[in-house]
């Protein structure tokens, strides 16, 4: 049986929402890590 999310039964559709949230989380982590490494006015 397919798992539904936000009332959307098809994972091929709701995974897009999950992907968006994961992408935002990735951008935050990347910036924190990279900005520690990169000097200002590189």
């Amino acid at each position: 049986m397919k798992m539904s999310l936000f009332g959307i039964p098809d994972p091929a559709v709701w995974l897009a929402y999950v992907g968006c949230i994961a992408t935002i989380a990735f951008s935050v982590i990347w910036t924190i890590v990279k900005n520690k490494e990169v000097p200002e006015d590189d």
Binding site: G7, I8, A16, Y17, T23, I24, N35, E40, D42
Partner: protein
């Protein structure tokens, strides 16, 4: 459709918006002393301004009303386009392309996208070809965005189309021509904030009216056969299920809407310039987070609300969105918003806020496009002309020429608006982004990452990508061949072949061809170089 719109409220808000826009235009004018500041405005913008400017330029009214309307027809599968907009259009673009573009741009002293490619490949031909693609194709996209935005506003408010077209074009022309990139970016940021407030309000009201389980209700109604998805191709499975794999609907949703626009965003010259305006990589990284959140809110809400609007129209009128809004997909979102806010306290104010958001979305994209077109003509082409005339290789940075070319191109864009068919915002966006990706993406990636950029390989890839894209778009794909019906004139048929192939977007074919041509050209050049090296050694 003027029901639900209080013209007095709208006109007051629109006038305030225009005053703020012109004030920021004046700020740009005061800070634009030379052509460098007109083209890049380097170090004049903070990460927040760059992020909001990138986001607002990226998303035109097309994202909200064009693709929001498409989501109402094709369903929430279009959220994959939102994902690609974030993952490719923002994160990948900033990390893989942004940092290197900024560094190389600064090192080579490049001021435009065409200039950057030309300087990396040391090729006047590549610079001219890129500038010509911008000058020829971008005004069509710009006109589609302008016409789409103004048309929707005219229908919703009942105000005169010609008057609105004139006022909007004049406002954009004034602040772009005099304020340059500084005015464009600061105005983009203001317009992005207006879009944010507008879209969040719309989402809150939609969820408040339909409930968090709107998609669940829509799914149940679809499965029971109470409501049916119409105006779709064979293979569609309702608004909350992905279309059947390899069906005509699957090809249309995946290749035209999701891939065409998702990948196309990577090589938008007007976006590349934002990287070059950034102070350093730390600022770029910060811009990336803000850009991500902004794009997710605007696009995610537009597509979610678009798909959910079917439940609203069914509950109110017993039909789905496109059955109720017969004037076309571009009018589904505006109709839904004026309808849903009807009877709400301060409903008039919110409808007017949505309309100003719509103006903001259109104007932010148009201004960035006009600036890019003006720079391509007033800097890239003009430099080539002066170099040829004087016989000396030179970059001519003239503020006056940039301003004049921008003004002339704005007039041309307004003329285009009268020649184009209506209801084409989403398709025109898809065509422009697909064409630029097929032509420029492999060359751009090669330019940034190769130690020895191969000029011939880049040129062949650009030519092959452009040629295959144009052929496929005009002769094979049914959706895009309507733009310029050459196939019909020559053969009597709208497209050359029947069957599923006519739903495959040109980008899906043209981009791999462009990549393959580049790879083969690089390999052949290396082989020839080793043969010549061997004969020299002998």
């Amino acid at each position: 459709m003027t029901e639900g719109v209080d013209l007095t409220t709208f006109v007051i808000m629109a006038v305030l918006f225009i005053i703020a826009t012109l004030a920021l235009g004046y700020y740009g004018y005061r800070n634009t002393r030379d052509s460098d500041e007109f083209l890049l405005g380097k170090n004049k913008a903070s990460p927040v301004i760059i992020a909001l400017s990138y986001g607002a330029t990226f998303l035109s009214a097309s994202a909200v009303i064009g693709f929001g309307g498409q989501a109402a027809v094709h369903g929430a599968s279009l959220m994959w386009l939102c994902f690609l907009n974030l993952a490719l259009g923002v994160v990948f673009a900033f990390i893989v392309f942004g940092e290197r573009t900024r560094k190389l741009g600064a090192k080579l002293g490049a001021s435009t996208f065409a200039d950057l490619l030309g300087k990396i490949f040391k090729s006047k031909g590549i610079r001219m070809f890129t500038a010509i693609i911008i000058i020829v194709m971008m005004p069509i996209y710009c006109a589609a965005v302008l016409k789409g935005g103004v048309n929707s506003l005219a229908v919703i408010t009942g105000l005169d189309y010609n008057l609105m077209l004139l006022v909007l074009s004049l406002v954009v022309a004034l602040y772009v021509v005099y304020g340059g990139i500084i005015a464009v970016m600061y105005n983009d940021a203001l317009q992005a904030l207006i879009m944010l407030v507008g879209m969040v309000t719309i989402f809150a009201v939609t969820i408040g009216t339909l409930g968090w389980d709107a998609f669940g209700q829509l799914t149940e109604l679809t499965i029971s056969g109470t409501i049916q998805q119409t105006n779709v191709l064979p293979g569609a499975n309702g608004w909350t299920e992905f279309p059947t794999i390899f069906s005509p609907e699957w090809w249309t949703v995946l290749s035209t809407f999701i891939l065409g626009v998702g990948i196309g965003a990577l090589t938008q010259p007007q976006l590349v310039v934002r990287f070059m305006s950034s102070k350093d990589n730390r600022s770029l990284n910060k811009s990336m987070i803000i850009g991500c959140v902004f794009v997710f809110i605007i696009v995610g809400i537009a597509y979610t609300v678009g798909a959910m609007s079917n439940l609203y129209f069914f509950e109110e009128y017993g039909v789905n969105a496109i059955q109720h809004v017969t004037s076309g997909t571009d009018f589904i979102i505006p109709t839904f918003i004026t309808d849903i806010f009807h009877g709400f306290t301060f409903g008039d104010l919110f409808v007017s806020l949505f309309l100003v958001s719509l103006i903001s979305a259109s104007v932010s994209t148009i201004s960035a496009l006009m600036h890019t077109i003006g720079a391509a003509g007033g800097y890239d082409v003009y430099s080539a002309y002066v170099s040829k005339k004087t016989g000396k290789e030179t970059d001519v940075k003239s503020l006056g020429v940039n301003r004049s070319v921008t003004m002339v191109m704005m007039i041309l864009v307004v003329l285009y608006c009268y020649l184009m068919p209506s209801d084409i915002i989403a398709k025109a966006t898809s065509v422009f982004m697909g064409m630029t990706a097929a032509a420029l993406l492999p060359a751009y990636a090669h330019a940034l990452y190769s130690k020895n950029p191969n000029r011939k390989a880049a040129l062949y890839s650009i030519i092959a990508g452009s040629a295959v894209y144009l052929f496929w778009a005009l002769f094979v794909n049914k959706g895009t061949s309507i733009f310029l019906p050459i196939c019909k004139l020559l053969t009597g048929n709208q497209v050359l072949f029947d069957g599923t192939i006519m739903y495959v977007d040109a980008l899906v074919v043209a981009l791999p061809v462009s990549v393959i041509v580049m790879a083969i050209s690089i390999l052949l050049t290396k082989k020839n170089a080793s043969v010549s090296q061997a004969s020299v050694t002998e």
